[in-house]
């Protein structure tokens, strides 16, 4: 997967070795090019760099990367037709180890050593932001996804009037998730008192921000938000928060919580007799494994849904529907689908679409122009910049849903869409139910 085939330069190989390798490479390329060995000119290669947290605490986000890269390369036969002829495609994946320092380092390796034509990244601000910062200063076109746009844009010091020059992003924003959460809660009979769990990190500060985050819109919709203040990630005691929620009589819990923290919170809530009617939490409930870790207590927990097998989109590369992609992922890995499967596929759809329309992949300006004029329908939905909240951001559809126990299914839980007002194209799979 991380085929680094170019040797000259760094490794100090001898001239002879380089010549030999070059000859072998040319012969190989010729053999591949189906029957016209002597006529075809050496095919150009477009290199796409992809930074992703393959190891470390964010690894569940990157679970589908290997599958996605392999299936995308297979679907296109390793080639893309572009404005400047047929190009070989090389996708170079680097592991950020879930560490922003390492993410910056591998991004600069991709830029300087691998000389990628397009840099891509996904999976939380800890990955997208350091990568995009390196791209911006090194003037390399960059597309990222899978991080709400406010932490991406404002977290990097973005100024809405100017925006960034080289770095573009597609995902949804806080305004969308607030709308989705309100839609979910409005389907239940509650006292509209909400307890908020916001950690002191990129997401937590953005979600809990009094101006740009949850507090204002919730108040506007008649909800009371109980915010006990920012807590440190990986806490082992949420008693203070739980007792504050209990005292205020909260019937709903929300927040953007790391999976192990939510497990702690939810277990301690049960022990301390706090039983809200709805728990709608970002990040913690994305992955089936984290819900299964709760045993039966995971039933009817709710979460945002940005991708599911029932989304009505198809891949521009493989023609697969969302359901087919999820099934292929399960067939290949034996694992249940998760939301990053679709976005991990879509980023290569976007990347290859950009490459195919660029006049000259070796000219960053030309690649940039191609990014700006993107209009492609991906398995995660249509992506085009220009109508977003800021110039570098394209927004994607977002709905909400609940985890339901599936005693008969192959997996313990299934995520069901229960609110689709924000994106009516996405079919609902059930009604919102109160917990327990």
């Amino acid at each position: 997967m991380t085929s680094k085939s170019r040797t000259p330069g760094r490794t100090g190989s001898t001239r002879r070795a380089v010549l030999k390798a070059g000859a072998a490479g040319a012969a190989g390329a010729a053999a591949l090019s189906a029957g016209f060995p002597s006529i075809v000119r050496a095919a150009d290669t477009v290199r796409i760099g992809y930074v992703s947290p393959k190891t470390g605490p964010l690894a569940p986000f990157a679970e589908a990367d290997e599958f996605n890269v392999a299936s995308v390369l297979e679907a296109i036969g390793g080639k893309v037709e572009s404005a400047s002829g047929s190009l070989d495609v090389e996708i170079i994946v680097k592991d950020s180890q879930s560490n922003p320092n390492r993410a910056a380092e591998v991004a600069s390796e991709l830029i300087l050593s691998d000389e990628v034509h397009l840099l891509c990244a996904g999976n939380t601000p800890e990955t997208t932001n350091p990568v995009a910062d390196q791209a911006e200063i090194n003037e390399v076109p960059c597309v990222t996804t899978l991080c709400p746009w406010q932490p991406y844009f404002f977290g990097r010091g973005g100024n809405p009037a100017e925006g960034f020059q080289w770095t573009y992003h597609y995902f949804w924003g806080l305004e969308d998730i607030i709308a989705v959460f309100l839609n979910l809660w409005n389907k239940l009979e509650t006292n509209k008192v909400v307890g908020g769990l916001y950690p002191n990190d990129g997401d937590g500060n953005a979600w809990g921000d009094p101006e740009l985050g949850f507090p204002k819109p919730l108040a506007g919709a008649g909800y009371t938000l109980i915010d006990p203040g920012r807590y440190q990630n990986l806490s082992d005691d949420f008693s203070a928060q739980i007792s504050e929620f209990k005292d205020a009589g909260a019937e709903i819990v929300t927040g953007v919580v790391l999976p192990p923290d939510f497990t702690t919170f939810w277990t301690q809530s049960a022990q301390q007799g706090f039983r809200p009617k709805a728990a709608t939490v970002g990040k913690a409930l994305l992955f089936p494994v984290s819900v299964e870790a709760l045993g039966d207590a995971g039933h009817n927990l709710s979460s945002e849904i940005w991708w599911s097998p029932s989304h009505p989109f198809t891949s521009s590369l493989t023609g697969q529907t969302c359901g087919e992609l999820a099934a292929a992922f399960t067939a290949a890995t034996g694992k249940q689908w998760s939301q990053p499967v679709g976005y991990g596929h879509s980023i290569f759809e976007v990347a290859l679409d950009i490459v195919s329309r660029a006049d000259d992949i070796n000219d960053p300006e030309s690649m940039l122009a191609s990014i700006v004029s993107t209009n492609v329908s991906t398995i995660a939905g249509p992506v085009s910049w220009g109508s977003g909240p800021v110039k570098n951001v394209a927004k994607m559809p977002l709905v909400g849903g609940q985890w339901r126990r599936t005693p008969d299914g192959p997996f313990g839980y299934d995520l069901v869409v229960t609110s689709n007002e924000t994106a009516p194209d996405v079919p609902a799979g059930g009604d919102m139910e109160a917990i327990g």
């Binding site: 991380t2 330069g9 760094r10 393959k54 190891t55 680097k94 592991d95 180890q97 560490n99 922003p100 320092n101 390492r102 910056a104 380092e105 600069s108 390796e109 300087l112 050593s113 601000p125 800890e126 932001n129 350091p130 910062d133 390196q134 911006e136 200063i137 090194n138 003037e139 932490p151 977290g155 990097r156 010091g157 020059q165 950690p199 002191n200 990190d201 990129g202 937590g204 500060n205 953005a206 920012r230 440190q232």
Partner: protein
């Protein structure tokens, strides 16, 4: 040095150190001129090697010479990084000028820190320094002007203000990196050759004995701690000038800024100046070869460290030095007897004692 009827003399330089100095000068000339013929990727990698080398030298000074096994040097690295952002963004200081300022800021913070952690000894000192670093991390997570828990990016305008054009910007950062690495080696070397070096070696070997010989243990150690913090702070500013983005988790990362550094020093050889140089080479070669293997890379790294500690605690350089009696950075005084006029006259005995 002192020579005469006694039939012996005290030597410091070795043949290896004389040839080594020549080779180092040549190597340095190659490195300094690299921006004019090398690739951008090479420059970037060398800057990374340079700051790891500087961190390793400074940690080696603390642990290998002063016996201060700190697991909390990331406190000063993060401080230096944050100081760079504060000076460059909020005070409009030129980012390169902010690097020494970051060192001073870290040294200032080191003074009160030292008075807390120096109340602890041995393993407690190690844990104490780590706790202090965590406290720094949690504190910086509360400072919203520096991005709080979310972190902040160095604006492109600030970075572009370093020099005209990308080439000169990268060259300036590259030379700064080289200067910091060389500076750290020179600092440790000169410090060890001075009388403070003797005091440090004495403390390392036996604190009680050095105290009885008139070495002011506390004062010596505090100075070393502050000097190491100064250097680490400068490195921190350089690190985040290349990373472009800082967050509490990144700045005060114990794995990146202390565990890796301990690995380098232990593998290379603790208590020698050559050790960290060898260690940093081993570390980068391993990373280049194995980093794409995900978790296995970290497992292999750990396994190597454990094996080295069990089998060869003196490190790679220790093995080489033992086998070939090589010393490129002679900090010891060595007694050389003149075989022709050998007749053992004890003299005043002082020179002999200093031999270690």
């Amino acid at each position: 040095m002192s020579e005469g009827a006694a039939g012996y003399r005290v030597e410091r330089s070795t043949r290896a150190s004389r040839y080594g100095a020549l080779a180092a000068l040549l190597g340095l000339a190659v490195l300094v001129s690299l921006p004019f013929w090398g690739g951008r990727a090479d420059m970037r990698t060398i800057v990374e090697i340079a700051y790891y080398l500087a961190l390793a030298q400074l940690w080696n000074l603390l642990a290998g010479y002063a016996g201060l096994v700190s697991v909390g040097q990331q406190a000063f690295l993060g401080l230096g990084g944050y100081a760079l952002f504060a000076f460059a963004i909020h005070a409009g200081v030129h980012p390169l000028a902010a690097i020494p300022l970051a060192g001073i800021a870290a040294a200032l913070f080191a003074v009160p820190t030292a008075f807390i952690v120096f109340r602890l000894r041995g393993a407690y000192f190690a844990i104490g320094t780590w706790v202090v670093a965590e406290v720094y991390m949690l504190s910086f997570a509360q400072v919203s002007a520096l991005g709080g828990g979310s972190g902040m990016s160095l604006p492109a305008a600030v970075v572009k203000g370093i020099a005209h054009g990308r080439m000169w910007r990268e060259t300036a950062i590259y030379w700064t990196g080289l200067a910091i690495a060389l500076g750290s080696i020179a600092l440790v070397y000169l410090l060890l050759r001075s009388r403070h070096g003797l005091a440090l070696t004495a403390i390392r070997d036996s604190e009680a004995a050095s105290g009885s010989l008139g070495v002011d243990n506390f004062r010596t150690k505090i100075w070393v701690y502050i000097v190491a913090a100064f250097g680490t702070g400068m490195v921190g500013a350089l690190v985040f000038l290349t990373k472009l983005r800082i967050s509490p988790e990144a700045g005060f990362n114990v794995v990146d800024w202390t565990a890796n550094v301990i690995f380098i020093v232990v593998i290379g050889g603790i208590g020698t100046i050559e050790g960290p140089i060898i260690g940093v080479i081993v570390f980068f070669v391993l990373r280049e070869l194995l980093a794409d293997f995900g978790s296995w890379y970290l497992i292999v790294l750990g396994a190597i460290a454990v094996l080295m500690m069990l089998r060869a605690p003196q490190g790679v350089w220790g093995l080489i030095a033992e086998r070939f009696d090589l010393r490129f950075f002679p900090v010891q005084r060595r007694l050389v007897f003149d075989p022709a006029s050998f007749s053992f006259v004890p003299g005043d005995g002082r020179e002999g004692k200093r031999g270690q």
